[in-house]
């Protein structure tokens, strides 16, 4: 079993090496597409975060004066001053140096607006419905976009693997001749696809690091989003390898 996996790895690597310029080019193109996907995923996260605030039916956003106002309330989240400034800034532009109220997300209950120390309660039903619809719509489009990205990566990988299958016609003919099963013929190309995927992830990481450096490292991409993009690349190339041999 171990020998067999080593064999597949070696063969996959040979396929990569035999046509390394093209393999790199394809990995590079996939990495570029990954950047678009990454940018998209980042804005998805950002928007989700914004829209999440006015979401749940039994929650309300309150503006309060000091911590004592929160006593006895079911607090879901207290926003840090920076967060509030950023949120407001995102919504209405730069707000300068004005003193900001404290903001928290709490569980709704009757009479919340009469609690001492709470200046305002935002629980606008119409707004909430609007936001949650917007969110649903947005996530639906996000899904379509993701599928589109996966499809594009898959098509590129598929074409490249088909090309290498043709370039290895002799090897495949010999494999069939000496009694290799179809699965055995497939796996070297699956590993080849894996190498292409890993290469494009490495190129992507270099690009991300470039971006991070350009922004003086103040711009940090969440690991979750990175992982998602990597999984998309690995998954799409894997599936197209299975389909293309």
């Amino acid at each position: 079993m171990f020998d067999v996996i080593v064999f597949f790895l070696k063969e996959g690597f040979l396929i990569f090496r035999k046509n390394w310029k093209q393999s790199f080019a394809v990995a590079f193109v996939i990495a570029l597409i990954a950047q678009i996907l990454l940018g998209f995923e980042l804005s998805v996260e950002e928007l989700k975060r914004k829209l999440d605030i006015a979401l749940s039916e039994d929650e309300a956003v309150i503006w309060f004066e000091d911590e004592s106002a929160l006593k006895g309330l079911d607090v879901r989240k207290v926003f840090a001053p920076d967060e509030v400034r950023k949120m407001l800034g995102d919504l209405i532009g730069d707000i300068g140096d004005v003193a900001l109220p404290r903001v928290a997300l709490v569980k709704w209950r009757e009479g919340l607006d009469r609690v001492e120390g709470i200046r305002a309660v935002y629980r606008d039903t119409a707004k909430r419905v609007f936001f949650s619809k917007l969110r649903q719509l947005f996530l639906k489009y996000a899904l379509v976009f993701r599928i589109l990205f996966i499809a594009v990566v898959m098509i590129i990988a598929f074409i490249q693997i088909r090309i290498s299958v043709f370039a290895h016609a002799t090897e495949i003919e010999i494999m069939r001749l000496v009694g290799a099963t179809e699965w055995f013929i497939k796996w070297p190309f699956v590993f080849y696809a894996f190498f292409v995927a890993v290469t494009s992830i490495l190129i992507s990481v270099l690009m991300w690091m470039g971006v991070a450096t350009a922004f003086d490292f103040s711009f940090v991409i969440p690991v979750k989003v990175l992982a998602r993009v990597c999984v998309v690349i690995l998954f799409s190339t894997f599936v197209s390898a299975l389909l293309s041999v």
Binding site: D3, T170, I185
Partner: protein, 231 residues
């Protein structure tokens, strides 16, 4: 004990373009036999060989190998059947960017054998064809006869009970052809059934083996004792 290892029952092969490559062929080859298949170009010799290793399926009739109807085999069963059949071609079919050793070992690795076994069996096979000393060379660095010996090593590395050879000496000079033929005879003496398709009258006449002659897809002759003569 000999038994029929290859059997054709009223086999016809019509290609999709309508060409009748074989018509109504019946024959039986015993295990351990050495058989020449002769006939002019286009007679259907290659088709006959392809039917045996299940590269083509008969349009009608039955082809049995080792008692099993090859047209009823599933894909993976065909793969396993082929591990018991070595095939050698006129054009060697070697992988140019792999060494002699790698070319032969490839046949075992793709069948999932362990690396220990691959190494030992490959060295054995290369020893058989007397090419161990050139194991690190590439096909382009070898003579035609040597390349064919590599192909033979690859065909026998799995110790098949049938060896099919389709004009294996077609590209080789008479002296080298004789060497290759002797190699087949050695394998045959150890029990391998050898089917040799050839154009080479000299080779056929130099031996006394069974001769099956084809012409336009029809079996025109099947003599227990040899000689290359067209009817």
């Amino acid at each position: 004990m000999s038994f029929p290892i290859i059997q054709f029952y009223n086999v016809s092969k019509v290609y999709t373009n309508g060409i009748v490559a074989l018509s109504n062929i019946s024959l039986s080859i015993l295990s351990g036999e050495f058989v020449f298949v002769i006939g002019p170009a286009g007679a259907g010799k290659t088709t006959l060989v392809k039917l045996i290793y299940a590269e083509e399926k008969p349009t009608s009739g039955e082809v049995l190998v080792d008692g099993r109807d090859v047209s009823k085999l599933k894909k993976w069963e065909i793969a396993f059947l082929r591990r018991n059949i070595g095939v050698v071609f006129q054009d060697f079919k070697l992988i140019r960017d792999r060494t002699v050793f790698e070319n032969v070992a490839f046949a075992l690795r793709v069948c999932g054998f362990s690396e220990n076994f691959v190494k030992k069996a490959t060295e054995d096979a290369l020893g058989r064809v007397d090419l161990l000393h050139k194991r690190g060379m590439y096909p382009d660095q070898l003579s035609g006869g040597e390349q064919q010996r590599v192909a033979i090593a690859r065909a026998i590395v799995n110790k098949p009970s049938i060896l099919l050879t389709d004009e294996p000496t077609g590209n080789l000079d008479p002296y080298v052809s004789e060497e290759i033929l002797q190699l087949f005879e050695d394998l045959n003496k150890e029990g391998t059934t050898v089917v040799m398709v050839t154009h080479n009258a000299g080779i056929v006449n130099s031996r006394d083996y069974r001769v099956i002659a084809l012409q336009d897809g029809i079996k025109t002759r099947d003599d227990g004792k040899g000689g290359y003569r067209y009817v």
